[in-house]
Symmetry: C2
Subunit: 157 residues, 2 copies
């Protein structure tokens, strides 16, 4: 975990970050790991993989801890867990408006995922008898800005 001079942790007046606020609101412990990971997610404008998150976190944070924090964030419905075409989880902060209907774009070249906010999803596919719908997810497949022009980047993770 991070160096954490006394000032950096408690007396910093500027911002009890939005992340910290959100975590505290759950009633669970406000830990460094949770704050750091959540701040990374909030700063990113797109879905991040576990790797990207681990790399973006400022201090060293154990791989497993990142997994556990992400799992916790997902259970708290603060984050959203997206299965990708490369078999890798990606995570985004889950805005409240996105609770039920949610659209993603996934690049077929680099597998990046971004969230699409303005979804015209008044869409209700009919399910077989006995099935219960809990929401609809729309995923647009295609090429992202970076991959559409030149030779594809092939980032993958």
């Amino acid at each position: 975990m991070r160096a954490a001079t006394p000032e950096s942790r408690r007396s910093s007046p500027a911002a009890v970050s939005a992340a910290e606020e959100l975590i505290r609101a759950t009633g669970a412990r406000v830990t460094q790991g949770r704050i750091l990971v959540l701040e990374v997610l909030q700063a990113a404008g797109r879905a991040l993989t576990h790797h990207e998150i681990e790399a973006a976190v400022t201090g060293p944070l154990d791989r497993v801890t990142v997994y556990r924090v992400l799992d916790w964030l997902t259970r708290q419905q603060i984050a959203h867990k997206i299965p990708g075409d490369d078999r890798v989880w990606r995570f985004t902060i889950a805005g409240q408006k996105q609770a039920h209907h949610h659209a993603h774009f996934q690049c077929t070249d680099c597998s990046q995922v971004i969230c699409l906010d303005d979804v015209p999803t008044t869409l209700r596919p009919r399910l077989p008898a006995g099935y219960r719908s809990a929401g609809v997810e729309v995923t647009v497949k295609g090429q992202c800005k970076a991959c559409v022009r030149p030779a594809p980047r092939r980032v993958r993770r």
Copy 2:
């Protein structure tokens, strides 16, 4: 091996199966593995995991071969590869009408996937500038018939 009497190849008396036909039409080799796997997929009314397919195939067929056959079927666009919420690929036969717009239902309890045919997908979410759409996938999340009623089954695979 010459034109093979029915019994000499398999116990299935159902003549030259639709599966065999389909494979032959691609111009590639018509092998036991391909026939068996494709028949399993055609018989199933839903998306199957690698495990399910391997278990359903009558004779012993190597794990890796099943993977390779599935990969080949996907490349031939005979099968369709679906990423699930449990990090496991699922495969279905790809009907021709499903080519571009295709909806799935995925159970949040047991992760089973079924195909929904009648999708009213006249839906075109707006993408950021520079992005290129190649198709839209709609996934309905919820509980399947088996999981909606009693205590959820939690099958997972």
